[in-house]
Every structure is written in C-alpha cells, then in structure tokens.
C-alpha cells in the first residue's frame, strides 16, 4: 500500500479488517462443512478516491462488496465506516447508514423492478429516509436526478423495459444517488454494456465523483476500465488478496503470477495499439 506518512486514519472513509465469509457446503448430515469464500481480506479506501477490486468468478469480489454494503454479515472481521465498525452501531444507526453507502449492480435488466415506474424507483429511497417533505418535492428531486444523469425528466412515468441497457444503468445510478450517499459500491457497472455506452457511463461516474467528492469501490475484471478509473487496486484470487498497490505500479510491474496472468490474458488497448 502506498500510504504516505502524512495520512491519518481519518482520511480513510472505509476500512475493511480481516474480512472472512464462510458458506455451508453440503457435507454429511452430522458434519457441517464450510467453504471459505472470502479469506482475511483487509484494505482501506481513501475519501474521494476509487479503489478497484479485480478478480474473476469465484474470487469473492462480489461477496466483499455485499459485506461492505451491510447486506451480508461477515463470518469474521469487521468493517469501519468513518472510523466506527458496523457492529458497534445500533440497528437504527445502521439503517441510517444506508443513506451513505449505495450500490450499482452489473445487470441493468435485473437491477430495476420491472413493475415499478421510474418515479417510484427513484423516490423509494426518499420515502424510506424521509427526504423531501411531500410527494411533489420528491418528484422534483427525482426529475433533478434524471437531469444529473443526462436523461429527460419525462422518463418518470415510464417503465424500465422501455429503456436501453445504458439508460437503465443510468437510472440505477440515479437511484443510488437519490439518498445522497458518500460511498458507492459499483459491481461491474459497465460489463454488460456496449463499448460506446460504457464510455458514456464512465464519464458520468467520473463527473459525479468530482462534483460530489464520492468514494468508489469499483469491482471489475476489465483491466482497461480499472486502469482508467482507479487510483488503487487490489487483486483477489479465490477469496484472498494476492496483490495490491497503486494502479500504475501494479499494472506495469506485477509481482504475483496471477496478476501477471490477468495482464497477459487480454492485452490492454495500449499494448494492442502499440503492436
């Protein structure tokens, strides 16, 4: 970790310490067997920066994301947000914390409820956290959110199936922003999108981070996107972190054989163009 000595603990918005997650495996009736999906994962994310989490299927990266979102309880280890662990907060505080930590998923087709129109999708968070005094105010906020993600407010009355994948992903981002979070977990948000749409969404994410000083955990297996977007990167293989560091350093001089494998597998665009 390239941590400069002048950084204090308060500069880290999110700190994961020794996270472990075990899932039960069908063993014999009397002997319960466990499969360790996440194995002693620790990292820190600096306020306003982007940490990339790179790994393939089975690496546990999505599970780590879900633990940070407080949607899954870790078997061991803890997560500190603003210095305070989740477990040290009361249930009420944890619910309030949900405003600060939001998520954008990979699949734009299953991450929006097909039975709700866009207005309902965007105002749900506001209703839960009592943002906005009445329905009209909430609707105005929803319209503003759509403008922020470069979509027209007359989408409010429509349903998800009327939109393309890229537009749905923008709606998902707007939904995440609807409760004014500080920290976003992005689980492969552009992997299911076309290249030209991906660039639009990446530009949007960059702009939002700049304007609102957001902190991102960006989970992806696409090394080009990671090298474009993130400052720090951790590489996971089978539940363990095998390499971590600043993006430039890790990608130019990978230490671990798995990282080297990844980099050689599908060469980055720069290398391809240089050939």
């Amino acid at each position: 970790m390239t941590s400069s000595p002048t950084l204090s603990a308060g500069d880290f918005l999110v700190v994961a310490q020794g996270l472990c997650k075990d899932y039960p495996v069908r063993g014999r009736l009397w002997r319960k067997q466990w499969r360790r999906v996440v194995d002693h994962v620790s990292f820190e994310i600096r306020r306003g920066s982007t940490l990339a989490l790179v790994g393939e299927s089975g690496s546990g990266k999505t599970t780590v994301g879900l633990m940070l979102l407080d949607l899954i309880k870790p078997t061991a280890g803890q997560i500190l947000y603003n210095g305070l662990p989740y477990s040290a907060r009361s249930a009420k505080e944890r619910r309030a914390l949900r405003r600060e930590i939001q998520v954008v998923f990979q699949d734009p087709y299953s991450s929006l409820n097909a039975r709700m129109n866009i207005r309902e999708i965007l105002t749900e968070g506001m209703v839960i956290h009592r943002i906005g005094a009445n329905a009209r105010e909430r609707e105005e906020r929803a319209a503003e959110l759509l403008r922020q993600v470069s979509m027209s407010p007359d989408a409010l009355d429509r349903y998800p199936h009327e939109f393309s994948g890229g537009q749905r992903q923008r709606i998902a981002i707007a939904r995440a922003l609807s409760v004014e979070p500080k920290f976003l977990v992005l689980d492969e948000p552009t992997s299911a999108l076309d290249v030209s749409v991906q660039s639009q969404v990446l530009n949007l994410l960059c702009r939002l981070q700049r304007e609102r000083n957001l902190t991102y955990l960006f989970i992806s297996h696409n090394l080009d996107v990671v090298s474009y977007l993130a400052e720090e990167v951790i590489v996971m293989e089978r539940g363990r972190i095998v390499e971590r560091g600043a993006v430039e350093q890790v990608f130019s001089d990978p230490q671990h054989p798995y990282t080297r494998n990844l980099l050689e597998a599908i060469p980055s665009l720069d290398k391809v163009l240089a050939k």
Partner: protein
C-alpha cells in the same frame, strides 16, 4: 490460402415485428478464404449474430426470413438448400458455437453422450467413444475419460466451452462460426479458449468467422476484421491495418471511447446518440446522425464500399472521390 470458402453476397435478413419491418441484416457482403479467420465486430443490435444464423438458415421463424442475397459455400448457394439439405451442412461442413455454453448443452445428458451423438448423427463410423475421448483431450480437458461421464453443470464455464468446441470439431468442419465464444467467460479463461481456437485452426486448417464486440479479442485471434453497424459492414481490413489506420468514423469512435491507462483523467470520447431502430434506418448513411464529419451528401446518399488501401474497404463518403472532391486522406480522432 486464397481460395474463397464462403462468399456472402448482399445478404438481407428481415423480421416482421409489430413495429414494422426490421431490417436486421441489410446488404452484408464478405468473403472468407480457406483457413482464414475473419472477425465480425459490432455492438449489440448491429446484426452480426443474425448474419451467422442466416448462413446456416437458422433465422427464427416465422417472424424472420432471408429476403435476398447469396451465401456461396464452396461455390454452391446454401440458400437454395432445403431444411433437410441444410442438415447435411450443419455440424458437418459448417459448425457453430455460441456464447452461453450452459444453454447450448443439454443438461440431462452427459458430455460423452452428446459428443457421441454429434458424431453419430453425421454418420461417423468406428469407435465413437474413443474418438470422443481423443477430441476432449485435444480441446484441453485435463481428464477426458472422466469428463465423458460428467454432466454439463458439473463443469466450469471454460470447460463447458471446450466441450462445445469439441462437439463443433467432431466432424471436421471446414468453417467454424463462433458467436461471442468467450464473452461469458473469465478473462484468463478467455485467453485460454482463444489460444485453443488458434491452435486448432492451425492444425485443421479450418476457416473461422469470429463474432464479437470486443476489439481486444479481435486483436488476439483474427487475421481480418469487418466492422458492422446498423445491419451493414462499414469497414473491412486486415487486423493490423484496422487498428493502426481506422478510417470509418464509427470505427474511429469505437477506438476513441475505449478506456485505457493513457487516457486517465481525461474525459473519454463517447459516441453521441444511440443506434437507430432497425425498423427505421435513416436514409443516406446510417451513421450520419452520430457522425462528427457528417455533411450534406451523408444525409441523402447511402455510401458505397470503397477500397482505400490494400484489402481495406470503407463505406463512407469521406473517401469517395466523386463525392468528396478534395482528397481527405486519413482522418484521425
């Protein structure tokens, strides 16, 4: 290597939809020589998958139909063949592998059963079981004997895709259609499968039509590449040439909007706008509404394919000496 194996001429595949006639494939022409790997690149909805399905006459009916065009395979027009006659071609002369191996393999039969069936259906003789085991070994499965008895869900994604490739190669086809074969796989597995395809192609001398949306996959495997947009091929060139000198504004746009380390901190060029609906292609050049070089002729006149360099054709008015009187030359982003 210059014997044309597959010649597609002006292929048009249309769909009848409630919103009107969808011209999914609208005048596609290309040639694949024997032993050559041609990549067909494009984003979703451009018609690349439907082109491959049209070659094998697997267009979903009754909504879809092949309106016109010729598909010459070894000199014979496949579109003249009936369904029964096409069965002799599918899986034997021309094989196809798909993106999602889990749904392409039958989950209730073992790998061995399916592989043997693929061979038996086309009248292969001899000890089919031994041949199947040999095939599985050839596609890189670590324990072929064991794999024969396993069911698809017991295998990983990469292994399933290898099984698919084994089934496709079982009858030694001359042409392999690969529709996004690595998109659903992990990155390292993608590399392995692509290397496997390259090796097999070298060994057997078969031709490959590789359909993908990922330019990096193209770079790794293909020799020539054709870029599709809105149902048509807008640019075609050898791989190296296309990557170093992309001519069509859409191709340039595709390269320009890819993220990379060198572009950190800068806003990515993104292609503005969206792909038009296949039921209502714009008159003139279909890319014109999104093109930064668009001018009057682009909106009215559809561009024709022109050769700009060695085996490099572009469908754009910028390179048409009759329309763009001043020689424009290369246009870089």
């Amino acid at each position: 290597m210059n014997n044309p194996l597959l010649v597609v001429e002006n292929l048009r595949t249309y769909f009848r939809t409630p919103q009107g006639l969808s011209r999914a494939v609208d005048g596609v022409s290309f040639t694949i020589d024997e032993g050559e790997i041609l990549a067909l690149v494009g984003e979703s909805g451009c018609g690349k998958s439907m082109t491959a399905l049209s070659i094998l006459q697997l267009v979903p009916e009754p909504a879809g139909y092949i309106e016109s065009g010729r598909v010459l395979f070894q000199g014979e027009d496949l579109l003249d063949r009936t369904w029964e006659q096409m069965r002799e071609i599918r899986g034997k002369e021309i094989a196809m592998i798909f993106q999602e191996p889990m749904t392409s393999l039958n989950g209730v039969f073992t790998v061995g059963d399916q592989l043997i069936e693929a061979m038996a259906v086309h009248g292969k003789r001899g000890n089919l079981r031994a041949q199947a085991i040999e095939l599985l070994g050839r596609v890189g499965l670590p324990e072929p004997e064991r794999a024969m008895r396993q069911y698809p869900h017991e295998l990983s994604g990469g292994m399933r895709q290898r099984v698919m490739i084994a089934m496709a190669l079982a009858n030694e086809p001359k042409l392999l259609l690969a529709d996004e074969p690595t998109t659903a796989l992990d990155v390292t597995v993608q590399a392995q499968i692509l290397d496997l395809l390259a090796d097999l192609q070298r060994e057997t001398g078969m031709a490959v039509l590789l359909i993908t949306h990922d330019l990096r996959v193209v770079a790794r495997l293909a020799q020539r590449v054709a870029v599709m947009y809105a149902g048509q091929i807008v640019e075609e060139a050898p791989v190296k040439e296309l990557f170093q000198h992309p001519r069509h504004p859409y191709t340039q746009g595709l390269f320009a909007c890819l993220p990379s380390q060198m572009r950190r901190g800068k806003e990515l060029n993104s292609l503005e706008g969206v792909v038009p609906s296949p039921t209502a292609w714009p008159p003139g050049c279909r890319f014109a509404p999104r093109c930064s070089f668009c001018w009057q002729p682009c909106l009215e006149l559809a561009p024709r394919p022109l050769t700009v360099a060695n085996r490099h054709t572009v469908r754009c008015h910028l390179y048409d000496p009759e329309i763009a009187p001043t020689s424009v030359g290369e246009v870089r982003s």
